[in-house]
């Protein structure tokens, strides 16, 4: 078999990404080629970048999401494209979205922990919906009495919300420490108060960073 040209490589990858019906990783794209003619990984990446550039100004774009690269319709044309289907996109309740947010940002998390933060019980139907949609899955059990299930988000969650990794989730708002206000009320030394403030916000940043670490479960 003869060498595959750059243009051919681009064409194959374009067609494969469009035909797959699901996001594809570079490794999967590599596997389309027999060993003797298999291009280098960086050639694949270069082809993807070229294809991404080709989408400029068009109705579709080539994006990387949780489970790989995929072509998708641009949001600019979604109002017309959505008319292809009778059904409207489903709306999700606040309870479901808040539960999902807690799983996404605080994973792995138990149902009791979710209830603790939300201040109300989480209905079983919400957990069921999240599991059925494949956005959330049980990745283990906490080693405490009752061995409650630990929930985590999935790649499908990232895919559905058009995210490459959990890093891309919107940043959580900072927590303010009541210390600070007390300090100010008590008219402490301004320096001291500021220091406290600095410390607390640093601690928060760290904890957010730790929370938002990309989690990959296969």
């Amino acid at each position: 078999m003869s060498e595959i040209t750059e243009q051919q490589l681009k064409n194959i990858i374009e067609a494969a990404l469009l035909a797959a019906g699901e996001p594809l990783h570079v490794e999967r794209l590599l596997s389309l080629f027999e060993e003797e003619v298999r291009p280098e990984k960086k050639a694949i990446v270069a082809a993807i970048e070229a294809l991404q550039a080709d989408c400029e100004g068009r109705g579709i774009e080539l994006r990387e999401v949780g489970s790989g690269y995929r072509y998708q319709a641009r949001s600019e044309v979604s109002r017309w494209v959505s008319r292809l289907w009778e059904e409207r996109a489903p709306r999700y309740s606040r309870a479901l979205l808040e539960t999902l947010a807690l799983v996404a940002y605080r994973q792995p998390i138990t149902r009791a922990e979710i209830e603790d933060i939300r201040g109300v019980a989480v209905s079983s139907s919400i957990m069921k919906t999240l599991l059925e949609r494949g956005w959330v899955r049980i990745i283990g059990h906490r080693d405490v009495p009752g061995r409650p299930a630990l929930y985590a988000s999935t790649k499908e969650f990232l895919d559905y919300f058009n995210l490459k990794s959990l890093d891309e989730l919107p940043t959580l708002s900072e927590l303010k420490d009541i210390d600070k206000i007390n300090a100010e009320l008590d008219l402490r030394l301004p320096g001291e108060g500021r220091e406290l403030e600095g410390e607390s916000s640093e601690a928060i940043t760290l904890s957010i960073a730790a929370d938002a670490e990309p989690v990959c479960f296969d």
Binding site: A15, L18, A19, A20, G21, I60, R70, Y71, Q72, A73, R74, S75, S78, V81, S82, A89, P90, Y92, R94, A95, L97, E98, L100, A101, L102, A104, Y105, I117, R118, G119, V120, A121, D159, Y160, F161, N162, L163, L169, P170, L172, S173, E174, L175, K176, D177, I178, D179, K180, I181, N182, D186
Partner: protein, 276 residues
């Protein structure tokens, strides 16, 4: 206090403008005071709260209060009005609302006690735990709203797929390592007592293989010449192997040999398969 940056000021638009309910097609962002509200609308409004923390946050936001310095007495009074309303409406009131009511009452009473001046630390502020919980809930409430506006498949973006007309899908054949087959054989050997009594130890595979080859060459319908089964190029060893194979086949009555006259040509044919 007013120029202090508060959480409510950081995210005012979404929080304050988010409608809690749609009443007759127009958004209801605030509980109308002193006005007659149709009971169904009030019910929708009250049911929209995601629990006591959500209700408290609403009360704080509505009055633009600093979450870090809640006037507990006033908030508690308002909170209780809503809880009573819910009870009157016979809404299925989550138990958490009453637990919160008790917590508020406790904080209120502790706020009335004089605070010791020397002792420092947030533990002194009876509101600390409540503030922590409110903030913690608020950040995930906000996160949920943020997630809700992310570009979503099926709403803001759509997956695409094209046809592959010349799709060739071949089912690949299973792969077998020689080693796997040998391991399978040793299993059989170990399992089968009688295998030990078989004489195959003395037999060599080349004879077995040659038996197959001889059988493949001959057929039941016609005789072929004995000598044509041998390949001189194989040398002495090859001839011996073939001869051994023929003897074994004869012993097992799988071939038939005919010699018309002494020293005449020997002919071979497979046994009795002609009627097949």
């Amino acid at each position: 206090m007013s120029d202090q940056t508060t959480l409510s000021e950081q995210h005012p638009p979404q929080q304050a403008e988010m409608p809690f309910a749609m009443v007759l097609g127009s958004p209801l962002t605030e509980l109308p005071k002193d006005l007659y509200i149709p009971p169904e609308a009030l019910e929708v409004f009250l049911e929209a709260f995601e629990g006591p923390l959500d209700l408290l946050l609403y009360l704080i936001k509505r009055q633009n209060l600093d979450i870090l310095n809640i006037p507990v007495a006033e908030i508690t009074r308002q909170y209780m009005v809503y809880v009573e309303l819910m009870t009157e409406m016979q809404l299925e009131l989550a138990g958490e609302y009453l637990v919160m009511a008790a917590m508020l009452a406790e904080i209120k009473s502790r706020m009335l006690l004089p605070r010791p001046v020397e002792v420092e630390g947030d533990e002194d502020d009876p509101r600390a735990e409540l503030v922590r919980r409110l903030q913690e809930y608020e950040r995930y409430k906000q996160a949920a709203e943020d997630i809700d506006v992310l570009l979503r498949v099926g709403r803001d973006t759509f997956n695409v797929a094209i046809d592959t007309p010349d799709k060739k899908s071949e089912r690949p054949q299973p792969h077998v390592e020689l080693r796997d087959m040998l391991l399978a054989l040793t299993d059989v050997i170990n399992r089968s007592e009688m295998f030990a009594h078989h004489q195959i130890q003395r037999e060599t595979l080349s004879v077995r293989e040659r038996m197959s080859q001889v059988l493949a060459k001959i057929n039941p319908d016609s005789f072929i010449e004995f000598t044509s089964l041998f390949t001189v190029e194989e040398g002495r060893r090859g001839v011996v192997v073939t001869f051994m194979a023929i003897l074994e086949l004869m012993k097992q009555s799988m071939i038939e040999m005919i010699q018309a006259e002494p020293f005449g040509p020997i002919h071979v044919k497979a046994v009795g398969a002609s009627e097949a």
